[in-house]
Symmetry: C2
Subunit: 467 residues, 2 copies
């Protein structure tokens, strides 16, 4: 069945599997030992480090293997903050970083540090000059800035080289989380630290990369450990490291051709979905984007139901909708972009995805969305807002308290036609997603969002009918 | 070639290999996703957790998988200290814990905490009542105590159940590092936290265990992460976890019979080595010990040369001698025991070790040791101390400054016969191993060690001839 969630975890690349099997036999011993099994393991480790460093574009002694991309981020940020403690305790991150970056930032704040979140535009992209501005306006000495190479939820590529220049001008190191892009190519620009995760490019789980350029101050916060230059404690996961390095080299060799091919399939989805499914917002930068990833949101749709129905139709995708998150809040990425989060679908194509599978997805999607909408009693396209007979009452209150996304938006859509043009609908809602989705609906529908205020229970969202 | 260093890393168990291969196909997806690949991964993860918890003797929801035994120790100790911050900041460890425990203790001290190291006897064992005494004499509130189940260098089994009782009486949690013993059986007694490492029992690298009993206060110090109850951040290394759990079950099924068999081989080494090689000290508790591990030290031998020659003879062993360590200090375990560290050899037999390989080792060892001794100009057995013609001068100074282990001891042995009984030899040395090995030599040789004092350069060690 078609698996379209490579951005969560890519299936194991055949080269990774092959290398892993070989290294299980050759690389199980302790590479710090002097006997032959140890020396053999050391050779494998050194070769893997050289291959990975070449792909990253750094020196082998600048790169260590960690146990995951998350650990690389945690320990990379903590080490850079520790090494620059004298410079200050301010950290700059973009608002759309991976949760591992934002959680490390939160831990830094809890520990007395300060953090700036650089905003993004509606495509999810950091503006040129935004890092320079954040550096200028920082409340104290800046220890570190972080910017992802490309966004994991909407595929937007960030201006890393520009941000790195802005940081270099202020003598502040830039850490780039390259988890989503490293399989497609090296990160350009003068970054200082870089993190990545092997299972995102088809390597095995259990391996991350942390590169720290010579000259960047770094102080490990972990207890002392002799492995991996003291930057990544614990016995080396050597078979997986060997597989990670081998598969990175392999996917890079195929990257240009496969990126071209997948970009075509993604373009097809980006173009066809809004034609096939009414009331859809395709999100993310239309040009500067990862080749394999596309995200869209469907009005009046419950994300969890949508994922479930797509799974029944044999398509595995993920979603940033609130109902698919354990915290019942929409994805922080969609929130920072200010785009619709309900009925959100992220399609990320693994290497080798068949064109026919994408076409089958495009065939299946309209029926699946329509089915979910029908069960939710969503307004039919062009029905809702065109209700012919407006209530003479120019103001209407919809009580959606206790109702979850997408119900508040559905109820808004159903009544907007009942007030005259210029009239107002106020939606009372206590679901967190409404805060994002009601303004997003207004944007999509050409209605005027007039803001929110606290109500006796929940929040009152005010929408003025414009058309 | 015979690999006798299972205590560093055991070769992959066939069941681990098989399970790993199966899980590469079935368990590469994100277990937190709702689609079928994710659900399948979740089932595998849950089953692995149940199997591991059963082997550990805890509830599945008390156990998380970490990326290594070292990480389990680091994060287990830090979490327990964090959770008991109100109770106090004192930490109790034994002097012979694994370096991961001692390094975490050092980090705790650097952070303002305090630490007691509980001493061991000459067999490497903590005395009954020693933890009770440490708890009584602690300078402040005790947050946590740590005791290994069995020592990784000399095989001595620790009185964990007794220590756990002593801790429970003081309402202090006990963390047991079970890395060396978990494959042989569950840890007895009322422990509170337990750590282990899969590659020690024949599982793959990249998997550790951390069990935290319900009711034990625990506060993760890592940034927030939704995986593994928030106690072990990063994408689950699922294929390796599945392999770890399957192989733990498999080695347990074979444990009783294989322990019996290996215990016989180890007994053979313990008995035969002192018969075959002169001037050897076999260390560790003779009875209460791991079934597969034996350690001995050879006087007048350079550990690195010995390992090298054994490797040439196709035997892979490890050593706690100073010359085999990157810091040029002898193993902290041998130091805490006060036993000879020079020419140290640890033999740890992997499961399935052939009797014939042990016999071949016993055949090869005497010649290898004799060869190393000859090249170092070591005194022949019964030659050195029996020198017929003592110098009339009752005091003699040997300048071994700048000379590395085992040279200072060799030079001492060569001249002791030159002073009359009752006379004194003073050895000037600046090699750290001399501090351990000169007293140990005196103990082995029935000479009187009279202590050390700082010299103009290095340290002066004073030995009085008794025989």
């Amino acid at each position: 069945m078609p698996y379209f969630d490579a951005a969560s975890s890519a299936p194991l690349h055949p080269v990774a599997r092959q290398a892993l099997l070989a290294a299980l036999d050759e690389g199980w011993a302790d590479p710090s030992r002097l006997y032959r099994e140890g020396r053999r393991a050391r050779l494998l480790l050194d070769a893997a480090r050289e291959a990975a460093a070449e792909a990253v574009g750094c020196r082998p002694d600048e790169l260590v293997f960690t146990s995951s991309g998350t650990r690389a981020v945690h320990d990379g940020i903590a080490g850079a903050l520790g090494g620059r403690r004298r410079a200050g305790r301010h950290l700059i991150v973009s608002a759309v970083e991976h949760s591992s970056v934002l959680h490390t930032a939160a831990a830094h704040e809890a520990d007395g540090g300060t953090v700036t979140e650089v905003p993004v535009d509606r495509t999810g992209r950091v503006a040129p000059g935004a890092y320079a501005a954040a550096l200028r306006e920082a409340p104290g000495g800046v220890a570190l800035a972080c910017l992802q190479s490309a966004n994991h939820e909407v595929g937007t590529v960030q201006p890393v080289a520009e941000a790195a220049e802005e940081c270099a001008a202020a003598d502040v190191p830039l850490l780039v989380d390259a988890a989503q892009s490293l399989g497609w190519g090296p990160v350009e620009g003068n970054w200082s630290l870089l993190t990545a995760s092997a299972h995102k490019w088809g390597g095995p789980a259990g391996v991350g990369l942390l590169a720290v350029r010579k000259g960047v101050r770094f102080r490990t916060v972990q207890p002392a450990d002799e492995r991996e230059s003291g930057r990544s404690p614990g016995f080396e996961n050597l078979p997986a490291i060997v597989a990670a390095a081998a598969s990175l080299r392999a996917v890079r060799a195929e990257a240009a051709a496969e990126a071209e091919r997948l970009r075509g399939l993604v373009e097809r989805i980006r173009a066809r979905v809004p034609e096939l499914v009414p009331d859809v917002e395709v999100v993310g930068d239309p040009e500067r984007r990862l080749p394999h990833l596309v995200t869209f949101s469907c009005l009046y749709v419950d994300g969890e139901a949508l994922l479930h129905e797509l799974d029944r139709a044999e398509f595995s995708v993920s979603s940033g909708s609130s109902c698919t998150s354990s915290t019942l809040t929409p994805s922080h990425v969609l929130r920072a972009m200010g785009v619709l989060s309900e009925g959100n679908v992220r399609v990320s194509l693994p290497r080798g995805t068949a064109e026919a599978d994408v076409d089958r997805f495009l065939e299946a999607l309209p029926g699946v969305v329509a089915g979910v909408r029908e069960r939710l009693g969503a307004p039919k396209p062009a029905e809702a807002e065109a209700a012919a007979d407006p209530d003479p009452e120019p103001e209407l209150v919809v009580d959606s308290l206790g109702k979850r996304c997408p119900i508040p938006v559905i109820e808004l859509a159903k009544v907007i036609g009942e007030v005259p043009v210029g009239g107002v609908v106020t939606v009372l809602a206590d679901d967190e997603a409404a805060r994002l989705d009601i303004p997003a609906w207004c944007e999509m529908r050409g209605q005027t969002y007039e803001g929110e205020r606290p109500a006796e229970r929940g929040v009152a969202y005010r929408v003025r009918r414009r058309a």
